[in-house]
């Protein structure tokens, strides 16, 4: 659906994106992760036909973003980072205007359906200027969804929202992402992890990693880590777990907690749980430790920074 090949964009001497290539398939939610100024917005602006690249090529649904820009724009829904809204229009008026620009048949029905999707039907007649930030974000999302695009490009869709709104927006994205291609940028790792099928990590205009959230995590730690809590003393139990085949490391913690680690791909949690029960312990809690994506991110982006310092 999205195919990007050796794409670069220079602003003067600065390389905003530097020779990046990636693909996104239909029905895939692709996360674009990176610190501020990494080139996420620039990439998205090129894909949506807002600006041309300096070199390289990109196609969406087989159409070139430069030479067949209008065809691309018909098939893409885009939510820019600064949600572009006419504050002096009503929600309905704004979406009707955008539907007309896209030549949608039965525009009024379509607007209502879309407002229902984002949960704003009751605010249709309200002025955009009077809406809260979260609601504006949803109006922007509605605008991107109006024409039921094949490809949805969302630049930081949950920024500035409260936790409840974030969950709502994520649910909409997840729903939409089932049959469409979604590309979303974020600098919140847990968001990328929860929503995305695949993550691209970009830093200083270059893609530094590309994989599924699980694999990225495994790649950094080289292991999967599980946190467990039982009733009672854990020292003896820790020893038993340590003797199991495939367990790499066991760390007893205070108050009946312990953490163990095994190689990615071979899930040892059921075996460990069985062992706990057979050893007459009460198993209270068992969960994966998910902080490692944060660590990956920092490590990948820090390495780059460190290398640059060395070069200088």
């Amino acid at each position: 659906m999205i195919r990007v090949n050796e794409l670069s964009k220079n602003f003067g001497l600065r390389k905003a994106i530097d020779n990046i290539s990636f693909e996104a398939r239909q029905g895939e939610i692709l996360g674009f992760l990176g610190p501020n100024g990494a080139g996420k917005t620039t990439t998205m602006r090129i894909l949506t036909g807002y600006m041309p690249p300096s070199s390289g090529e990109a196609t969406i649904a087989g159409y070139d973003v430069v030479t067949e820009s209008l065809e691309v724009r018909k098939r893409v829904g885009y939510l820019p980072e600064t949600v572009p809204l006419y504050t002096d229009m009503t929600v309905f008026g704004y979406l009707k205007f955008m539907s007309d620009l896209r030549h949608l048949p039965n525009a009024e029905e379509r607007v209502e359906e879309t407002l229902e999707m984002v949960g704003l039907l009751d605010r249709a007649e309200g002025y955009i200027g009077n809406l809260s930030k979260g609601m504006r974000q949803r109006v922007g999302l509605a605008q991107a969804l109006l024409h039921r695009p094949e490809v949805l490009i969302l630049d930081e869709p949950t920024i500035g929202l409260d936790p409840a709104q974030i969950i709502e927006v994520r649910n909409v994205i997840r729903e939409v992402g089932k049959e469409r291609t979604v590309m979303l940028s974020t600098h919140i790792l847990s968001e990328a992890q929860q929503l995305c099928d695949r993550i691209l990590i970009i830093n200083k205009g270059k893609i530094v990693a590309e994989d599924t959230p699980e694999n990225l995590q495994a790649r950094l730690t080289g292991a999967e880590r599980v946190h467990m809590r039982v009733r009672g003393e854990v020292a003896e139990l820790a020893e038993k777990i340590g003797q199991m085949k495939g367990i790499q490391e066991v760390q007893p913690k205070e108050e009946g907690a312990l953490e163990f680690q095994f190689a990615p791909g071979q899930d040892l949690r059921p075996e460990v749980a069985r062992l706990v029960v057979q050893s007459n312990y009460d198993l209270l809690e068992m969960r994966s430790v998910n902080l490692s994506l944060e660590e990956i991110f920092l490590q990948l982006t820090r390495d780059e920074a460190a290398m640059e310092v060395n070069e200088e």
Partner: protein, 247 residues
């Protein structure tokens, strides 16, 4: 075509909620009305008795000049404000060609101005009731045609300059500077140069209005002048939008 109309329609309705547009409309109509009343009282109170019957030039003449001031105030916002609000990104990623965007903006403003110009028809109508055997209708039609063409050309230039700037005030001053050049300065060499004076007289906007349309003289070359100026303005606008993409 449809996109041009969609954009024009939004822009046109937008003017009716804009304080600047209301101010411009009020001043435009009030000044023309005032000049009309002053002219009438001049004719009626002239002790020597006036030979010529008053005609519609006393409406179309000042109106042409007022356009120089009214147009920049109406066009400054058109594209500059889209850039400021970030909605330019929306329009430039919608399936709309750059020239459709610029032309739509121009058409919206043009329709609004046409409403104002239509309202001023009340003055020729009043005059027609006052003088016998009625006003010179050829002069009126020609004068108004000149006004409509001038409006089209000035608005196009205004839209063009609005596209160059992301600040309305900058757009306003750039536009009005160009109008000053077109209205006063560009014709100046006509009186000085030994040869080629006609060329500069042709480029002179005020001469095109006052020497031709306002005197009831319709020339193809004058119509071409205004249509060229309109196209130039829209071209400047489209090019500026395109340049904005590359930046």
């Amino acid at each position: 075509m449809r996109n041009i109309w969609t954009i024009a329609k939004r822009e046109f309705t937008n003017y009716f909620t804009s304080p600047i547009a209301y101010t411009v409309a009020f001043l435009f109509l009030a000044i023309i009305g005032l000049i009309f009343v002053l002219n009438l009282s001049y004719y009626t109170s002239n002790p020597f008795g006036y030979a010529d019957a008053p005609d519609t030039r006393m409406v179309t003449g000042p109106m042409a000049f007022l356009l120089i001031l009214a147009v920049p105030a109406l066009t400054m916002r058109l594209l500059a404000d889209e850039v400021r609000m970030g909605t330019m990104e929306l329009l430039l990623t919608a399936p709309v060609r750059d020239f459709e965007l610029v032309t739509g903006k121009w058409l919206g403003a043009f329709l609004f101005m046409l409403v104002l110009i239509a309202i001023t028809l009340v003055f020729p109508f009043l005059l027609d009731q006052l003088v016998r055997p009625g006003i010179d209708q050829v002069l009126m039609v020609s004068g108004y045609l000149g006004i409509v063409l001038t409006t089209a050309a000035l608005l196009a230039l205004g839209v063009g300059f609005s596209a160059m700037f992301s600040n309305q005030v900058a757009a306003f001053f750039a536009t009005i500077s160009v109008f000053v050049v077109l209205w006063w300065l560009i014709g100046a060499p006509a009186g000085i140069l030994p040869v080629g004076g006609d060329f500069f007289r042709y480029l002179d906007l005020s001469s095109q209005v006052y020497d031709n349309f306002n005197e009831g003289i319709l020339k193809l070359s004058s119509i071409i002048y205004f249509l060229s100026l309109t196209s130039l303005g829209l071209l400047i606008g489209t090019t500026s939008v395109e340049i904005r993409r590359w930046k």
